[in-house]
Symmetry: C2
Subunit: 327 residues, 2 copies
């Protein structure tokens, strides 16, 4: 047996999660049986989609559902070799033993850091790619507004839209994210929704209306975008982070869907498996050419996963929030 640790949910959050809703539990990983592998987690991802699950299908006193990358440290399964990198969705466990089901071998491009496989080349990247191109049906040169433009999904959405020749407006909540999006990511306009009058600023920044509003927030930001939608506009609905912790105003401007024939459509990353080949190829190229830039906020230490998750909802991340566990 190997001593390991797990992040557990011990209490369902009411509103904003707090540290006491979670625990770091000591555990033992069993011996590696025939057909099994033992994996050391290297890096884990905390994401907004995890919040609603805390009050739904996340079991109490069991590893927090979430994804990461690990290294095979022992293999008795012919499909895996020791030292290989694997993508895993086994919950937040420092070391674990598995039959390998649901795990996939990660072939890392040596010119790219491992961490990008947790965002631009991982779940948030394909969420952005599929949400914008497949659900949003983006056409070259359209008018695009991206909510949570400073986040892991939004920043990739905004930069793909720029690559496609679009006029791109980003919404974000801190001035340093505004600066990064304008100066590094090259957006046409960026609005700080906390300090600016959102409706007025958005109208000024999107004088030709909005063909695609990439939705990650809901509430007041959706209400500001809806009246500006162009005929046959699309609202791919990736998230509604403003509603996850309760509170927030209801949405009042949905009637704008009617005359503008706007389509709002929800999606999840697993819908885009059919796009994976094109995505990996396009995104690897864009990252290596510098057309897609990114920021990361990395917390060092397995036990800091709850802090990272809570930090997401407080906007304490610059780009993708990651938990570094081991090298």
């Amino acid at each position: 047996m190997t001593k390991t640790r797990e992040i557990h949910l011990v209490r369902r959050p009411s509103g904003m999660p707090v540290l006491a809703d979670f625990s770091v539990a000591d555990a033992n990983a069993p011996e590696t049986g025939e057909g099994e592998i033992k994996v050391q987690t290297l890096i884990m991802s905390v994401d907004p989609y995890m919040r609603p699950r805390l009050n739904a299908d996340q079991p109490l006193n069991a590893p927090l559902l979430g994804g990461g990358i690990g290294r095979v440290i022992e293999s008795r399964n012919p499909k895996f070799a020791e030292g290989q990198l694997v993508r895993q969705g086994v919950g937040f466990r420092e070391v674990h033993v598995s039959d390998g089901k649901g795990m996939s071998i990660l072939n890392r491009d040596p010119d790219l850091p491992l961490s990008v496989y947790m965002h631009a080349l991982g779940g948030t990247g394909i969420t952005a790619y599929g949400g914008l191109l497949d659900i949003g049906k983006l056409k070259d040169g359209e008018q695009v507004v991206v909510s949570t433009a400073g986040g892991a999904v939004g920043s990739v959405v905004a930069q793909i839209a720029k690559i496609k020749g679009c006029h791109v407006v980003g919404l974000t909540g801190t001035d340093d994210k505004v600066a990064w999006l304008r100066e590094e990511a090259g957006l046409d306009a960026v609005i700080n929704y906390k300090t600016q009058n959102l409706a007025e600023a958005l109208q000024a920044a999107a004088p030709k209306g909005i063909d695609v509003y990439f939705e990650n927030v809901g509430g007041a930001q959706l209400d500001a975008a809806l009246p500006l939608m162009n005929v046959h506009g699309r609202v791919p609905v990736c998230g509604m982070i403003s509603t996850y912790n309760g509170g927030g105003e209801g949405v009042r401007n949905l009637f704008n869907l009617i005359y503008k024939r706007v389509r709002m459509e929800g999606f999840v990353a697993t819908d885009f498996a059919h796009l994976n080949g094109a995505f990996m190829s396009d995104m690897t190229g864009w990252l290596k050419s510098g057309q897609i830039k990114y920021q990361e906020t990395v917390l060092d230490g397995f036990e800091r996963a709850p802090e990272g998750l809570i930090g997401l909802f407080e906007g304490r991340n610059h780009g993708k929030m990651l938990i570094h566990v081991a090298d």
Copy 2:
């Protein structure tokens, strides 16, 4: 010249329209010039879509924008013969002279009353048909919920869904509409949203969830339907009558779009011109076979159009609200 009357908007309504927002204005129809026709209005339609226009593109002190059926009483245009019936969208005018542009000859089935061409075989009928089948992509046997099921659009939506073998739940606001929908239109369940707990009643009436929620109301009814949507459910958005006169709560349950991959999509009747042939053929057959039943509330007298429009928002209509002007 011929003496005539027009219904004018004289003041933009604040909230619910009142009679003083309108006037019945005397006017003169000019002589019928070369290439022109003179038309006597027979019947006019008042519809929910007219409300938002009163605070938008409806001019003040000019005929209220709206549709109807008229009879050609004088023709100097070779495309029209005296005595022919025409569909017209010329605003609420008792007699008018026109070059015939935008008017179309109505070939009435002699076995059907003229009034059905103002609803089941008119704008509300094709709105229901296109909204449910083209935007809603209804499949045989699905689970369907229809808001304003007692109205001109909703009652046709609900009955088309029954013809397609679906489980159909209607939402309406009076007990006599409940009775008509259950007993005459043959819905599987009908909920009076004013007297029942909507969320509980809907859950009980739709035990297999909702594949298509036909949206005419917004607000609390949309919030009750969203958590019950099935994966890849559709919400064709025909109207949001709860929001047209201001007030009403915002919508809080939109996050349900995400995990269920629900598509909400707005539309207007003019999007369905390509369906017109199939629609007229299907609907004429359904009406003559008795598969589509209808109710009408007919106010007698041109000058009663404002009363009819206001009555719509007070739920005083049973089925389609019409204004009878002349035989």
